[in-house]
């Protein structure tokens, strides 16, 4: 297998992008990434795009061909593949691109992620997202996504003494980080009281415990590491790329407060990279709900099971802490256009590794990690990146 490196990244501003279509968003992110990689479109061998539900959100399927077309590559007839793993579609697109380059099938490959969610009503969007859960045995009896995470939160609180204030602190921290990120959906500080006073969605989760509905796209360009320096001076190596699966329904899991898919993906990625969790300098984890960030830092292995809430409270995961988590603002505050999220996480870590993260730059970053989850944990994807 060949070593793989990232030579270019691009991301649109996330948010309610009413003026932009799905096609506009992909083209916008793609142009930035291709410029950044110092390549021209004709050099691209293949394309993978992560997208959860364009069929429901904009009535458009066959996104693989569409994206190649939008990129102006239709006359070159390159292989273009859409992949789907709910909210982990972006991470999955990168992993498929990595496999294609590592195996030697392709050299210069694009991994993209896109979701255009605001063309439909909030109710339709919620129902499209609910398709990531078990339609027959969760949604059919009235479950919603916030409800599933609320039930994980309730049990975590009961077992480990995690408090809602600790969950609120995840939102407060991520909103603070987002204020320093130009592409973030929200540029507003949040207080614990703001979270607690926001309307209840599914007890104990309030509106401000939940990530928003967003539009956005992100793109990365990868090549074999041996070729990387012929394009750019600061390539970023992908030293771990791993994926885990689990039951679709939350109730069938071994433990309702652990995402085993994350545990497995992280363990395998660390093994590939030959590093330990404590060596990671900065991480983007899947905080679709505040409790999800607490579960993520435990399941990846940064902290012991049950200690996630306490660690957030102690400021360890803040920008000034020992392990800054979600410097982009996370899904919570940077926004969560589902298919784009996994690629945006990689975009943020690449900026951190290159020292280009502006005000939210972490000191001396050598190793970064991304963690992308589909549904309530049916899929998890972990990537480890180094300079």
């Amino acid at each position: 297998m060949r070593s793989v490196s990232i030579i270019g990244v691009g991301c649109t501003k996330f948010g309610e992008r009413w003026e932009s279509s799905l096609r506009d968003l992909v083209a916008e992110a793609g142009v930035i990434a291709i410029d950044d990689a110092c390549i021209v479109g004709e050099q691209i061998d293949a394309l993978f795009v992560g997208n959860m539900s364009a069929g429901r959100f904009v009535g458009q399927e066959h996104i693989g061909a569409l994206i190649a077309d939008c990129a102006g590559l239709s006359r070159r007839h390159i292989a273009s593949t859409r992949v789907e793993a709910a909210c982990a579609s972006g991470g999955l697109a990168l992993r498929q691109a990595v496999l294609a380059v590592a195996s030697g099938y392709h050299d210069i490959v694009i991994a993209a992620g896109v979701e255009k969610m605001t063309d439909v009503s909030a109710g339709t969007a919620a129902d499209a997202l609910a398709a990531a859960a078990d339609r027959e045995w969760e949604c059919f009896v009235g479950a919603t996504f916030p409800a599933l995470y609320a039930m994980m939160a309730r049990l975590h609180m009961r077992r480990y003494g995690t408090t809602h204030d600790q969950m609120a602190m995840v939102a407060v921290k991520n909103h603070h980080h987002a204020c320093m990120n130009p592409i973030a959906q929200y540029h507003a500080e949040l207080s614990i009281e703001d979270v607690n006073r926001s309307p209840m969605v599914a007890d104990p989760l309030h509106v401000f415990d939940c990530s928003p509905i967003s539009d956005g796209a992100a793109v990365v360009v990868i090549v074999p590491t041996e070729m990387a320096r012929s394009f750019v001076d600061t390539p970023v190596r992908i030293v771990g790329s791993s994926q885990g699966s689990d039951t679709l329904a939350l109730h069938d899991r071994r433990d309702l407060t652990t995402l085993d898919s994350t545990v497995i993906a992280a363990r395998s990625a660390f093994r590939q990279a030959d590093i330990e969790p404590w060596q990671v300098d900065v991480a983007e984890v899947h905080d679709c709900f505040t409790i999800a960030e607490i579960l993520a830092i435990e399941d990846i292995g940064f902290v012991e099971k049950g200690q996630g809430g306490r660690v957030v409270e102690e400021g360890i995961t803040a920008l000034s802490g020992e392990l800054p988590v979600n410097t982009s603002g996370g899904l919570k505050a940077c926004g969560h256009p589902v298919g784009a999220t996994g690629i945006k996480q990689v975009y943020e870590i690449v900026l951190q590794l290159r020292g280009e993260a502006g005000q939210r730059q972490v000191d001396e970053v050598e190793i970064g990690l991304t963690h992308n989850v589909g549904g309530s944990g049916g899929t998890a994807i972990v990537h480890i990146l180094t300079r």
Binding site: G123, D127, R135, G142, R154, L155, P199, V201
Partner: protein, 144 residues
């Protein structure tokens, strides 16, 4: 979400009567029914099994903000219930002022939802407290 009728009728025995599967090869009880035991796979000897429906609340939430099909029912309680035979299910809890972890429940047959204004009404199993309101401690649950 538009569900056409056959999709619902297909699941009526499971939804109305909690019909699942028992694997005689490994002894596992499975819900909803499967034609492949996740433990034994191809060598499994499967039989239909009707669950008693009694169980214990493992975790729960109250939903204030639901999808369109359930909007009219808010707020409502949802729980993950461990059936006495072992498998867990997600279901609504009714006739209960305060749901608690460890609470014992029994199945009740109720309207689950209605699709749109003129859509089909569909029925299924919800859960209500067992008369004696007995609780199991979290410790004894986690051992299972």
């Amino acid at each position: 979400m538009t569900t056409n009728a056959p999709r619902f009728w297909r699941c009526i025995p499971q939804r109305y009567n909690l019909i699942g599967t028992h694997c005689r090869s490994c002894g596992e009880y499975i819900f909803p029914p499967r034609n492949l035991c996740p433990t034994c796979r191809r060598v499994a000897e499967l039989e239909e099994y009707r669950f008693k429906g009694t169980g214990t609340v493992i975790t729960h939430t109250t939903i204030y903000n639901a999808t369109e099909d359930f909007e009219r029912q808010t707020p409502y309680d949802l729980a993950i219930i461990q059936l006495d035979e072992g498998p867990r299910v997600t279901g609504q809890i009714v006739s209960c002022p305060e749901v608690k972890i460890g609470m014992r429940v029994r199945p009740v047959f109720r309207i689950l939802g209605k699709e749109g204004d003129r859509g089909i009404i569909y029925y299924g199993t919800k859960f209500a407290p067992l008369a004696d309101f007995s609780y199991e401690s979290e410790k004894s649950l986690s051992k299972k």
